[in-house]
């Protein structure tokens, strides 16, 4: 029974983190930009969504969309710091992440004025009636409610995946891919590559904020520390996805990234079963990530050797 609920939990969080990973896929894989501002934009999305729902009384969907724009802005700041002021990519991310820690804290204070608070870092309210506990959800028998939540999450993830896939097929999307792969060519096409970087980072963080907003909805709780470790989690998901699942025929990179997020968060949840005290959890996370990377190194060298033996399609 514990194993069953852990699995369901793992899938729910995995789908939520899949959106996060899809955002990071844009910055890390497409733009080749290791963006650390993710640790800040994830809780930013959560706190914005919570404020819009509780303070402004907006329904969940518009609140999540507004959170997207919040992430968009924060990502653009990272991009502008890097492109216009020539701050290195890692530092630009760190600056924005650090600044957002205060922004989210101030926003939390706005929430906690007259709500039930646990600490100043988190906020929990039964009034946070969102996607997963509204009237529709209440009409579904308790036993099936977990599957209902999974269903909604799946729809959102597929929607985000389709949007990103379509976007990457447009002229603008092509330019983004070209910027990450060969900046000089973008210049020779008469375009300012820096602008595409800013745009890509904004979009990536927009999706990260959406993930944060959905995370807050999922747990009817906003937690200011929820951003910690999200960069690692997202990168792990993207790398596992691209290296393991993108070899499957008809699997696009985006599908592979979703699978990566699911696998990684399932593994994380099972680790909780092993280490019930939670002391070694982060250590186990790191070891798991390392094992996956080592495994990936082995398989990719095997794959390329197999290709060579077949007569080598690629020169």
């Amino acid at each position: 029974m514990l194993f069953y609920s852990t699995t369901i939990d793992g899938f729910q969080m995995g789908l939520c983190f899949a959106i996060l990973a899809l955002g990071v896929y844009i910055s890390y894989s497409i733009l080749d930009f290791p963006d650390l501002s993710v640790d800040g934009t994830f809780p930013l999305g959560g706190v914005l969504c919570t404020i819009f729902m509780l303070r402004l009384g907006l329904p969940a969907v518009p609140a999540i969309l507004l959170a997207f724009f919040g992430g968009l802005l924060a990502g653009a700041v990272t991009g502008i710091l890097h492109v216009k002021f020539r701050i290195s990519n890692l530092l630009a991310g760190i600056i924005v992440m650090t600044a957002l820690l205060s922004v989210t804290l101030a926003a939390t204070k706005l929430l906690t004025r007259n709500g039930q608070t646990t600490t100043i870092f988190s906020y929990r309210s039964e009034n946070l009636v969102g996607l997963f506990n509204g009237d529709l959800a209440k009409s579904i028998p308790t036993g099936a409610r977990d599957y209902f939540i999974l269903g909604i999450l799946l729809v959102i993830v597929i929607l985000v995946k389709i949007i990103i896939d379509l976007f990457l097929k447009t002229k603008l999307g092509y330019m983004l891919r070209a910027t990450g792969s060969n900046e000089k060519l973008v210049v020779s096409l008469g375009k300012n590559a820096g602008n595409y970087k800013i745009l890509g980072l904004a979009l990536a963080n927009g999706f990260v904020a959406v993930a944060g907003a959905i995370y807050a909805n999922l747990f009817t709780q906003y937690d200011n520390t929820s951003g910690t470790g999200k960069v690692v989690l997202a990168l792990a998901s993207v790398i596992i996805g691209i290296s393991v699942f993108s070899h499957i025929p008809f699997f696009k990179d985006t599908t592979a990234v979703i699978c990566g997020a699911l696998v990684y968060s399932l593994c994380l949840n099972y680790l909780v079963l092993v280490d019930t005290n939670g002391i070694y959890l982060k250590l186990l996370n790191a070891v798991l990530f390392a094992i996956i990377l080592i495994f990936n190194e082995k398989t990719s060298s095997l794959l390329s050797r197999a290709k060579l033996r077949k007569g080598g399609k690629g020169k």
Binding site: F167, K169, T170, K171, L172, G173, Y174, M175, R177, A178, G180, S181, N182, K184, L185, V186, V187, S188, L189, G190, K191, N192, A193, K313, G314, K315
Partner: protein
């Protein structure tokens, strides 16, 4: 067409390594002329291309394109009218994207890159015919990432990509130097064909004296930031590889090499 007026360029200014490469450098290339540039390493050939393309900026002087002053224009804005092929075949294409995708990027040059689907069905056929005309057998590999192609194939693709939309000036920066002799010949022949067919003004830097002699309407030899030889049309046709080599040797002896 393209004109350099009294251009100055100093590298590592105010240090012990200061090198004054160009002083009062003048050059005028009329429309439609195909110019080859030869010269030893450090003679300023590539710097000349970089100054025109805007990769580096001149310390003083003017650069005019069609009479308009482009000296202060950033590289990406100049690129709207200037095409360029580099020595390194990987620079002219996007390695992670397919041949079709690369061509669609190049074809849209000069227009905005908006949220519209990049490759339509009719475009695919057009690109296939275009690639088939190269005679490299690439038309069956349209959906292969360009990074998997050989250097020569990528350079051929770079060449058609840089001239797919009308350009006023084509800069060729030792674009056959990284290829094997046979492929280099093929690319050179293709270059000549494209330049003549589209009557593009072109400036080609090369270390291959044979190409410099056989192709182009005008030949420049550069040495320490100055043109030591500048022959066009009939006078250029009279130059043989032997002549060029002897001038080359004279220069080298002068600087004690």
């Amino acid at each position: 067409m393209i004109e350099l007026q009294k251009v100055h360029k100093v590298f590592n200014a105010a240090t012990v390594n200061e090198v004054e490469l160009f002083r009062d450098f003048d050059l005028h290339i009329p429309r439609g002329q195909f110019v080859s540039v030869v010269g030893s390493n450090g003679s300023g050939k590539t710097t000349l291309l970089n100054l025109i393309s805007g990769t580096i900026s001149a310390d003083a002087g003017k650069i005019l394109l069609d009479g308009a002053d482009i000296t202060a224009l950033p590289e990406y804005k100049r690129a709207r009218r200037i095409g360029r092929v580099f020595q390194d075949p990987s620079v002219g294409t996007v390695p992670d994207m397919t041949i079709t995708e690369n061509l669609s990027l190049a074809e849209n040059k000069g227009k905005p890159y908006f949220l519209r689907l990049a490759v339509s069905g009719s475009a695919k056929n057009r690109y296939r015919e275009l690639v088939a005309s190269l005679g490299l057998g690439l038309e069956s590999r349209m959906d292969v990432p360009v990074g998997l192609l050989s250097g020569g194939q990528r350079q051929a693709l770079s060449l058609i990509m840089s001239t797919l939309t009308p350009v006023d000036l084509l800069l060729l920066d030792e674009h056959t130097a990284a290829l094997d002799p046979k492929t280099a010949d093929l690319i050179m022949e293709l270059t000549n064909r494209i330049i003549r067919e589209k009557s593009i003004t072109a400036l080609m830097v090369t270390h291959n004296l044979r190409y410099a002699v056989e192709y182009g309407d005008r030949l420049l030899m550069m040495h320490e930031g100055k043109t030591v030889l500048d022959q066009a049309d009939e006078a250029k046709k009279a130059i043989s590889i032997q002549n060029l080599l002897s001038i080359f040797n004279e220069i080298s002896i002068e600087c004690g090499n």
